[in-house]
């Protein structure tokens, strides 16, 4: 960063930029963005209850986004590649879950949720299955590129190819229409507090997302393979020199990243609906969350996912929801202008 000479001569913009570039400054800036959204919404006559509902909805969406974003950031940290197939990996998880739910004999809904035991069984199967599939795709598409030390554009193209491939398979097997895990089942909302209504399913989704995220945290911080993953992310040459089996680290990276993506896809499908493009459309918000939280940083991805989720939902109060993803990107761009290394830059 270029230091300007003499703070008295610094232009106001420059002074603002430097003040905002600290972690605290960043948080203040984000709070201001949130406040701005609230103010605009109130000026436009949006009722407070609706705003609060949208905030809660944003937190819920943030949980699902986080499941995808952590995988994107882990793969980037360990393999130094942007996996553009990650969104479609989520789609794959959702549809594989649908297969399991459809094949199993239908049980009664587990009140107050809209799903039965089949959905839980599907989750337990889909998480490891998508993890293994993600690893298999890596061996097929990315390992040869690593062996040849290909440029990053090659990895990006291969990942895009995988993304289109997965989506095409979904079209072939399940058609282009949207569908649900449980067609025609009522999903009533209940009042949470102060007129904020959510579906019990959504609380389950957030709860499970939190459990999975805590699990990943414990794995990264406490286990030997988790530490080896962080070490490889930090300095892969030194990891090899230390005798760390980087192949195993890569396997675990995909198992975790793919597994979380599979779970995230199923949860997103449960919350909204299943569509062949569901994951593809999540890809940009995922990357926005990851970049916002400093790419390669798992905790940053978590924070970024919630910021993007909340901004995305809340801006829907006063603009057509079709454009609200754009607002989320705007926030990302502002953050990157002010603090290019992202919220957690310099940390992993």
């Amino acid at each position: 960063m270029v230091q300007s000479t003499g703070s008295s001569s610094a232009r106001p913009m420059e002074r603002f930029r430097r003040a905002a570039a600290g972690r605290t400054g960043m948080l203040v800036a984000l709070a201001l963005v949130l406040a701005a959204i609230v103010v605009v919404a109130i000026v436009k006559g949006v009722p407070g209850t609706q705003l609060l509902s949208l905030f809660v909805r944003g937190v819920l969406l943030g949980g699902t986004l986080a499941l995808g974003a952590i995988g994107v950031t882990l793969v980037y940290a360990v393999l130094k590649m942007a996996n553009f197939a990650h969104g479609d990996t989520m789609t794959l998880g959702a549809y594989l879950g649908l297969v399991v739910v459809t094949l199993l004999p239908k049980g009664a809904p587990l009140a107050p949720f809209s799903f039965g035991y089949e959905f839980l069984v599907a989750l337990l199967l889909v998480i490891p299955a998508v993890g293994l599939i993600a690893f298999g795709l890596d061996q097929l598409a990315f390992r040869p590129l690593r062996a040849r030390r290909s440029q990053s554009i090659m990895f990006a193209m291969a990942a895009l190819g995988l993304a289109f491939g997965i989506r095409s398979l979904v079209y072939i097997f399940w058609g282009a229409d949207f569908t649900f895990f449980y067609t025609g089942r009522a999903r009533p909302a209940v009042e949470l507090f102060a007129g904020v209504r959510v579906r019990p399913d959504q609380l389950f989704i957030l709860g499970l997302a939190v459990v999975l995220i805590v699990g990943v945290y414990l794995l990264l911080e406490r286990t030997k393979i988790g530490k080896a993953m962080r070490a490889t992310a930090d300095n892969s040459d030194l990891a090899r020199i230390s005798g760390i089996d980087t192949k195993r680290v890569i396997l675990w990276t995909w198992l975790i990243g793919g597994g979380l993506a599979g779970a995230g896809g199923m949860l997103y499908g449960l919350d909204v609906q299943l569509r062949p493009e569901m994951g593809w459309w999540l890809l940009l918000p995922l990357f926005a969350a990851v970049i916002l939280g400093s790419i390669g940083n798992a905790y940053g991805a978590l924070a970024g996912a919630f910021v993007i989720g909340i901004v995305w939902q809340m801006s829907g109060a006063f603009i057509n929801p079709v454009y609200s993803q754009g607002i989320a990107f705007l926030v990302m761009i502002i953050v990157l202008i002010v603090r290019p290394e992202g919220l957690f830059g310099g940390r992993k």
């Binding site: 090899r240 020199i241 005798g243």
Partner: protein, 234 residues
């Protein structure tokens, strides 16, 4: 029989040849220092021995076994440890986690090894929960050496252990190298600081333009007028 032998090794990066025939050996329990001007290929020799480069010609033998081009993750199992000149710690891991990674391939407790590292570098014991990236250059070098000692290596390879350190710290690091060597670990090091490193080495090699030019006892090299004139700056 020497512990490590490099026999007429030729190697380089891509098309660029750096080493034009390097021959050297390290005996059990010895300290051997490679000195020479910038760009002589000193670090390249280290990378070659540690399997980060494959030899184009020549051979590398460790403990009677041909290890030319053997991958680093296999070499550590044979009792070789390597501390690169730069990027030699995991910056986002704590001191203790760095040491854990040094002992990664060992199953079971690393408490005893860690205790020994902490005895050698008491400073690290005080800072075991601190992230390595937040530490000073001298402390980072201690972490790097500590990590390399976690597997009780037979040969410790150090690439420019004193680079970028204040004079006081340089002396401290060299003292530690002697202390490590006294526990029976052979040391092969590359150093810019030729005078100091040759003074404590049993033997030395002067490397220039990818070949070793002069070999001998550490002290003799220091007093060799040709070496002094050419490489040691008087």
């Amino acid at each position: 029989m020497p512990l490590l032998t490099v026999e007429r090794a030729v190697a380089g990066y891509g098309e660029m040849q750096v080493l034009r025939g390097v021959t050297l050996s390290v005996g059990e329990g010895e300290i051997v220092s490679i000195v020479g001007p910038n760009g002589a290929g000193k670090s390249t020799v280290m990378k070659l021995i540690f399997g980060l480069l494959k030899p184009w010609e020549g051979s590398i033998t460790f403990d009677g076994r041909d290890v030319s081009g053997t991958a680093p993750e296999k070499l550590v199992r044979l009792g070789l440890s390597y501390v690169p000149q730069v990027d030699n710690v995991f910056p986002n891991l704590t001191v203790e986690e760095n040491l854990d990674m040094g002992g990664y391939i060992r199953n079971g407790s690393l408490a005893e090894q860690k205790e020994r590292v902490f005895e050698l570098f008491p400073r690290l014991a005080e800072r075991r929960k601190q992230r390595a990236g937040k530490m000073s250059g001298g402390e980072r070098q201690m972490v790097a050496m500590g990590r390399a000692l976690m597997l009780d290596p037979r040969l410790l390879m150090l690439d420019e252990p004193s680079a970028g350190l204040a004079p006081l710290l340089v002396d401290m690091i060299f003292d530690k190298i002697v202390e490590i060597n006294r526990t029976g670990v052979a040391v092969l090091m590359v150093e810019q600081n030729a005078k100091k490193s040759l003074a404590l080495a049993n033997r030395g090699y002067v490397l220039a333009t990818g070949q070793n030019q002069v070999d001998g006892q550490g002290r003799d090299l220091l007093e060799n007028p040709e070496v002094a004139r050419l490489y040691l700056g008087g």
